[in-house]
Symmetry: C2
Subunit: 338 residues, 2 copies
């Protein structure tokens, strides 16, 4: 069974759980239903959901370790709500107007109400987690803590030079925390012991690193039509991604000075908007990255973390069909870039 | 014992709990310690804490119902952290630069990092609550849900006429939710039965209403030097407070039209700043409120909710010293205004 079909298998179960968690007749709850894609901006039913990757991973892990998917549903829904809380607040922080082709919450309702929407999403997530028991709720709270600390690190990185190990530390928190949590929650729902839970958390970290570095490579070199990232988009926004961290580590002299000048934070206008990096500088940075062989290093890193993930899957006591599906999922999320 | 001395009695216990909850060597945790007043902006130890009203109320309630204060400390600390989460995000939403005489988190660190700070404060609050057991954590999550919904209602009220019952609904959520939660948590820590818990929640609602309406009266008529609210300050900011809700209910004809014109939301500038109501309009609104006897109605309402609170205290099985202290506290928070 392919990774896509695996996710489909859990879809209606997860959607039922989300609908129940987000029920209620307030304006703010309507905004939450809009954000997750179960309603349009007028409150009418819609079907604009995301991939539901994290909750599917919870259910798949629980099943793979001998539990019934249904018994892990609360944990899965709670985690998906946490993910969506982070997206609502992320979009405010990044001033992103559009997510998955739809206007973001803050762009429709203003920053103040979008802060409320994220706060409520997190609160409902925790309430659903608490109903699943203290170990589940505790693991969720730890993951949110790590993720928010990662978000803060990412912000701090905007105004300083970042070494590759600091970059990985940030990725482990910002991207890895919820992936590790998905696997951990699945394990906890299947009453896995501490050694298995530790392996699951490590697997999440490997997937997170491979996925994020691959995403960062696409943010520089683009991918044609697959994800829709145009070439250089992350450079234009001065994102301190993996390639840029590597370029800082490898460059010296005039290159290094020019790199620092391009990535120095520009003055923001009154509304907090920053000027983008100009086309000529974007081209120069890509040319520098090519000269420094950064793309090859990035691809090697993705391959290494992907291999690390496959080793962890091998070591885990998954039933064989789920091990197979898990490998397919890892391939899809964090497969080699070429 | 006076209400002030009661709060002092719990102070060092609560501060120890807060210090433990907010320990850790990240920039974001330093910001949280700054916000609650245990550090200055450079990270050096400070002593700029607030009144610690809500956690004191948790401990007082637990003691009053026969439990040891120490056994309610986790619940008390969790609630104080929830309160502080709401203040950090409130200050962003209201664009307030100063709180308790110190620069607010967003004014020091920007909106994006202040959103993270509030998110982390809420997450730590929930983690502390979860350690105190599922009933405590569940009650906390319900209270945060109500509070955030109240915050959203308050925002919606900025752009519409508000009836007094809608105003009270908003106050029960925005102000009452955490006060009710304080009493509920104290009761849960003392293993109180459902009837007692229901009385405690009702007591919190009465205190919240009396306190908020009194605060609203001070926001219109000022109070000289006591709280430092200058006359008309809430009118200047177009706050739909109790007196304004009453004025809409009682006015008609030209008065009503002019009132609507004054409270119509003004165009905001690019940075989201709105023009204040001018001095002449503020004076006219106060004159209208006086003509409509709104102040007297407000004072009657405060007296009625204060009396309701005293009846609830009488009905609760508090040990007599705590019942006495509770009455003193209610008098201080929600005493008659003249």
């Amino acid at each position: 069974m392919s990774a896509g079909e695996t996710l489909d298998r859990y879809r209606s179960l997860i959607l039922d759980g989300l609908r129940e968690a987000l029920a209620g007749e307030t304006q703010l709850r309507e905004i939450l239903r809009y954000h997750v894609g179960m309603a349009d901006a007028q409150g009418n039913p819609a079907n604009a959901f995301g991939k539901l990757l994290r909750p599917s991973l919870v259910l798949m892990t629980a099943e793979g370790l001998g539990a019934e998917a249904r018994n892990a549903l609360g944990a899965a829904v709670a985690l998906e709500l946490v993910h969506n809380f982070s997206l609502i607040h992320d979009d405010i922080q990044d001033r992103d107007d559009v997510r998955r082709g739809r206007p973001t919450v803050w762009s429709l309702h203003g920053i103040a109400e979008a802060i409320n929407a994220g706060d409520l999403m997190l609160t409902i997530a925790m309430a659903v987690g608490i109903e699943s028991g203290a170990p589940i709720a505790g693991a969720l709270a730890r993951a949110v803590d790590r993720m928010v600390e990662g978000q803060s690190l990412d912000l701090q990185f905007e105004s300083r030079v970042v070494a590759t190990d600091q970059y990985l530390e940030m990725v482990d928190r910002k991207t890895g925390a919820l992936l590790s949590c998905a696997l951990e929650l699945g394990g906890l729902c299947a009453h896995a012991g501490p050694a298995v839970v530790a392996l699951l958390i490590g697997l999440g970290r490997s997937i997170g690193r491979a996925f994020q570095i691959q995403d960062d490579l696409l943010g520089v070199w683009g991918d044609g039509d697959v994800v829709g990232k145009p070439q250089g988009s992350d450079i234009r926004r001065r994102k301190k991604s993996f390639p840029i961290a590597m370029a800082f580590a490898r460059s010296s002299g005039q290159d290094r000075e020019q790199l620092e000048a391009v990535f120095a934070a520009p003055a923001a206008d009154g509304a907090g908007n920053e000027e983008d990096v100009c086309d000529a500088d974007v081209s120069w940075v890509i040319e520098l990255l090519d000269r420094l062989d950064v793309r090859l290093e990035g691809e090697k890193a993705v391959t290494a973390y992907h291999a690390e993930a496959l080793v962890a899957i091998e070591a885990l006591p998954f039933v064989s069909e789920i091990a197979e599906e898990m490998r397919a999922l890892v391939e899809r999320l964090a497969g080699r870039v070429r």
